[in-house]
Point group: C2
Chain length 341, copies 2
Amino acid sequence: MVTLKNIAEELGISITTVSKALKEYPDVSEKTRKLVRETAALLNYQPNSFAVNLRTKESKTIGLIIPVVVHHFFSSVIKGIIAQAEKKGYLVIILQSNESYELEQKQIDLLLRKRVDGILISLANETSDFSHLNKVINQQTPIVMFDKIAKVVKCSKVIIDDRKAAYTATQYLIDIGCKKIAHFRGPLLPQNSIDRFLGYKKALLDNDLEFDVSLVYTCECGDASFEEGKANAKQLLKDHDDVDGIFINTDLVAIGAMKEFNDRGVKVPEDINIVGFSNWFMASVISPSLTTINQPGLEMGKKAFKLLFKEIKSRKANKLITHKQVVLDTDLVVRDSTKNK
Amino acid sequence: MVTLKNIAEELGISITTVSKALKEYPDVSEKTRKLVRETAALLNYQPNSFAVNLRTKESKTIGLIIPVVVHHFFSSVIKGIIAQAEKKGYLVIILQSNESYELEQKQIDLLLRKRVDGILISLANETSDFSHLNKVINQQTPIVMFDKIAKVVKCSKVIIDDRKAAYTATQYLIDIGCKKIAHFRGPLLPQNSIDRFLGYKKALLDNDLEFDVSLVYTCECGDASFEEGKANAKQLLKDHDDVDGIFINTDLVAIGAMKEFNDRGVKVPEDINIVGFSNWFMASVISPSLTTINQPGLEMGKKAFKLLFKEIKSRKANKLITHKQVVLDTDLVVRDSTKNK
DNA sequence: CTGAAAGCGCTTACAG
DNA sequence: CTGAAAGCGCTTACAG
């Protein structure tokens, strides 16, 4: 591998001058600069990033911890993050927490030991203790949370207004004439499951509809799956066969539920109206296509990186870091799984 | 940040001894070793990875270049790679080529400049020149290709037998009674599009069915999309309304085609039998569910990392690197988009 | 405009 | 068993 030393020896000048010439320092003569550049190109010189990292104490690399990779929404976020990072000359190390708190902790430690310039994270469903995140903050590594966040942790966040979106979805079911609306919520812990549930509840109450806890189905298994949708739908038919609308926490679960209804001769939307959440690509291609809340994954990824980038810059300049919370817009996409009565 | 120097000063011993004690060198007294370890723990010492990288000339980081992230098969591969890498203490930098040759080249350079320990890559559809890959090989950085490979490049590869899988799919259509079978192939360049096409053709010929070029629809747009499936299906109905079976290069395209047929009152499987390729999750939940070839993404990712890991080890030990080509098994998953006549 | 020197924080061959 | 020293390949404050 070619080093500065090689170029210096080749030209009979000092390493210092070579370094300065390549970095466009003003105090190098045009002649020397040109000579150095030509020689560097000739020898195909590439700066040793390990040495640069050690000197500059930065690696132009960030870490990303995400609960699941094979997932329409999250993979869209990943795409947004790496696209934006590349623009700014940053690389992204990706880690999957598998919705496990233990793994998430280990991965945070791993990234800190790697001395990444910053961390982006969406929390595992299991995570209810945040000391690992506070550790990151205490040692001044910039961190931005997105989608699945912890409200009490003091850092920048990019989210959607889950409560409002859920309210919109539920209100829509009411507007088209549903009288008894169930809710399949996600696992207990994550903030967005809670918020979506609260939005659902509030819409009912604001419309003088009874809120009945037995109409709320919680995900026992910890992850929102197709199977869970089927199981919940089956149980719902047993418990309440007069339900005429369901607001479901995630498209995948909604698709499972629709499958179960279809298998049992329950018609969507004629017998039951269904609204999902996230607008997975799949939602537009199944039959009936799924009415859902569009959640802007790509945009969320881009925004999260932008915030992180600003904090990295601020920290480098020893400026005060101010935390921001960005709320992205969602919208209701009406398709064929719902129908005005 | 705590350094070896801090620990040494704290204990009044040399940096050398501290380093050796922490690295379990045998020539350090048990007493010193213990003392050093305790102090390191107390001060929460973390080795500076930048310095370690510079000294050891390795970063325990690999690069991954993938055409698309938001994609069921590729995201499964990513999951397999990062899971396996984590087990061996490696981190993964992920880059998306967007099916662009130009980007792919830049990203290879980026990774080489970063001095990653190895590279995993699945080629962009556009890529037909391989000098960037040979550059990697020439400078002795281990590289393993998976799924979308270049046969002529000398390195390890993990693939499926696309030709055989396509043959199986086509033979199955013939077996259930199809007389006129079309093929929606992918873009022109990638090896697996070519191989799937060849498998289709061979199955026809082996069964004494006529091979008709006009029954093969090529993807003009460069990426295999839902829209492409719709467009091809539309064109097919115009050109050949007597086709009774289609073997389609990718599930997503197949789903687009099914949508178009459904919209136009053409029944699947009654009027046309359809076999897809890849076994996206979506294939199992749409109606009718899609008969397809299962392509083991997770396993492919794991295997690709394992091969790369071996080469990294070999290279470090200055051993000869032998390239391997691993062919993973595929199987036909029969669902409701096909039916025995 | 040029360069000697210090230093980033490690690892390791070598001397004692 | 311990430690001084060299060196990985850069960057940059400082002297001339």
